[in-house]
């Protein structure tokens, strides 16, 4: 296998033909007949009659499904819906270099108590003024961390299992798009956890027993690189979204709202059923998780300012100690039934999204082992935006 081929793409192509259902068998009639035999209500008889009348011929006419969507085949393990992106990229790339020098004066003004909506609008304005996307690649670079419990005789401590992900989406057909991913190794969640980990002998490998057995390592993994199809990398809400669709997102907040709402499916997958909560989640994905232009991101900030039920938290620091303003959904339950709160951290001075954090408000289900208020996962946006840099691969032109 070529080392630039994602194993998931190889797997997708190896889908066995035996998974294809044989056609023309009148299965519907059979199923319904069984149901009738088992339960016998009159309505079921009608279905059975209808099915029998239609017969196998009708079933045989059912169109074969179209090309299967490889939702996030490449993103596997990489970022995707939750993660990445953006920020103000200079005209020559260097997406990670925010104008730190400019911080001084402006920051004190923005630190004054201020309506969170105004802060979002300031961030939107700054994002809007960033250079229009132009460059060979649209990049998105994140670090994600997920809390895992390590049980010892002396009690449980918490480690973050961490991943670093980069997307480099080519803007020209002459270049390939790449995903680059690395396991960054586990790290204690808090100083208290670090002390417990040390007391336990600073193990390099730890066994996690819940919610699913696994192993955590302190050591970093190797860097993996593979080519991706930018149309099959991302999801927005519960639906996959192509790069073309992301490129076409409106820069006007009202229009963006309509486009996003058109993707509302009403499912309770991992998404809220409540429309406002859903909109908050999807708009935050546009701002913090997807490769969009700074202008679309600006529309996302403006949209977030219109969603009811959002609460401003003021100045906070992300996991890397970067300072920003935070907002959260005030019901404390952005993910229904899971007792979680999502916090979005951004820098109003530059319009950069910094981090998305999920906290456990009411520990339950797969998070029942966590302390109330503790961080269950995070995604740091390290860089994003248009760039003329090349992805760190040997053969970017292949």
């Amino acid at each position: 296998m070529s080392r630039s081929t994602d194993v998931m793409n190889v797997l997708a192509k190896a889908r066995p033909a035996r998974l294809n259902a044989p056609g023309n068998r009148g299965e519907l009639a059979g199923i319904v007949a069984n149901a009738v035999a088992a339960e016998g209500p009159a309505t079921l008889n009608q279905v059975a009659d209808a099915a029998a009348a239609e017969g196998p011929a009708t079933l045989g006419q059912v169109r074969r499904p179209g090309p299967r969507r490889m939702a996030l085949v490449g993103a596997v393990g990489a970022i995707a819906a939750a993660a990445v992106v953006v920020a103000v990229a200079g005209p020559n790339g260097a997406p990670d270099s925010a104008p730190e020098a400019a911080s001084g004066v402006a920051s004190s003004a923005l630190d004054a108590p201020m309506d969170y909506k105004r802060l979002l609008l300031v961030a939107a304005e700054r994002s809007d003024k960033a250079p229009r996307a132009s460059g060979r690649y649209l990049t998105v670079q994140t670090e994600r961390g997920y809390a895992q419990p390590v049980e010892t005789a002396e009690g449980t401590y918490v480690m973050f299992e961490r991943y670093g992900d980069q997307y480099w989406l080519a803007r020209s057909s002459a270049d390939s798009s790449w995903a680059i991913s690395q396991e960054l190794g586990a790290k204690p969640a808090t100083p208290t956890d670090e002390a417990r980990w040390r007391r336990n002998g600073s193990p390099a490998v730890m066994r996690v027993t819940k919610p699913k057995p696994s192993e955590l390592k302190i050591a970093q993994g190797e860097v993996e690189r593979w080519k991706v199809d930018p149309d099959k990398q991302f999801a927005l809400g519960d639906l996959n979204v192509s790069q073309a669709e992301l490129d076409a997102l409106p820069t006007d907040p009202a229009a963006l709202r309509s486009v996003l709402l058109s993707r509302f499916t009403g499912e309770n997958v991992d998404m809220p059923r409540d429309l406002d909560q859903w909109l908050f989640t999807v708009a935050s994905a546009v701002v913090f998780g997807l490769p969009v232009s700074n202008q679309v991101r600006a529309a996302g900030y403006r949209l977030l300012a219109t969603v009811p039920g959002v609460r401003g938290l003021g100045v906070v620091h992300d996991v890397r100690g970067r300072r920003g303003q935070a907002i959260a959904y005030d019901r404390g339950q952005v993910t229904p039934g899971k007792g979680l709160e999502v916090r979005l951290i951004f820098d109003p001075e530059t319009g950069r999204p910094l981090a998305e954090e999920t906290r456990v408000v009411e520990p339950q289900g797969e998070f029942s082992w966590m302390a109330p208020g503790s961080l269950s996962s995070y995604s740091l946006v390290l860089a994003a935006g248009a760039t003329n840099d090349s992805p760190p691969v040997d053969d970017a032109r292949d």
Binding site: R15, R18, M70, E100, V269, L382
Partner: protein
């Protein structure tokens, strides 16, 4: 427009999704038992039609199929059926050498590697690769959060890659470089 009758609703549900439910069933219990699982899944769907998420019933249907499999078969029986099924996949992939020279060894190789993984890993990987579910929907089938799904998927993918590498005669060495975290510039 009048609401469609339950019968029409069920018929179109079946016509739209039985192939996908069948494919999932084959991966969980093998082709021989797949029909039973499909039939029982749609029977449950009929009984619970009002509760069905209309916009996107597939994750719901697969979650039902998953429960049906769990309740209907003893673990041992299911494992044997799946093992036989996977042998058939590998054989078919190898047999097709004559037809499509390109990529056949790779297909057989990845199916062999897949067969060496745990049942949980296989399910995670194929939900995305073969059944085309978005991560949120795959998480729904498995009953976990999307974040947890990503973690499990990442691990499963690594184990698949390792199994594949172990099987390959020659594996090119990869440069090991540090990627992220470059500490931020400040």
């Amino acid at each position: 427009m009048p609401a469609p009758s339950p019968e029409d609703q069920f018929t179109s549900l079946y016509q739209e999704h039985y192939r996908q439910v069948y494919a999932y069933a084959v991966t969980r219990v093998g082709r021989r038992l797949a029909d039973e699982v499909v039939a029982e899944t749609f029977l449950v769907a009929w009984r619970r039609l009002p509760a069905l998420p209309k916009a996107a019933p597939l994750p719901w249907l697969l979650a039902v199929a998953r429960n049906v499999v769990g309740e209907r078969y003893r673990a041992e029986e299911r494992q044997q059926a799946v093992a036989a099924e996977m042998r058939a996949w590998i054989t078919e992939a190898e047999v097709s050498v004559a037809d499509v020279a390109d990529g056949v060894a790779e297909r057989a190789g990845v199916l062999t590697a897949l067969a060496q993984l745990s049942d949980d890993d296989r399910e995670l990987l194929t939900l995305v690769a073969w059944h085309g579910l978005s991560p949120g929907r795959a998480a729904r089938v498995l009953g976990c959060s999307t974040a947890t799904y990503y973690v499990r998927l990442h691990r499963a993918r690594r184990r698949l890659r390792n199994a594949l590498a172990a099987a390959a005669e020659v594996e090119l060495p990869r440069p090991t470089t540090t990627l992220i975290p470059k500490e931020s510039t400040r």
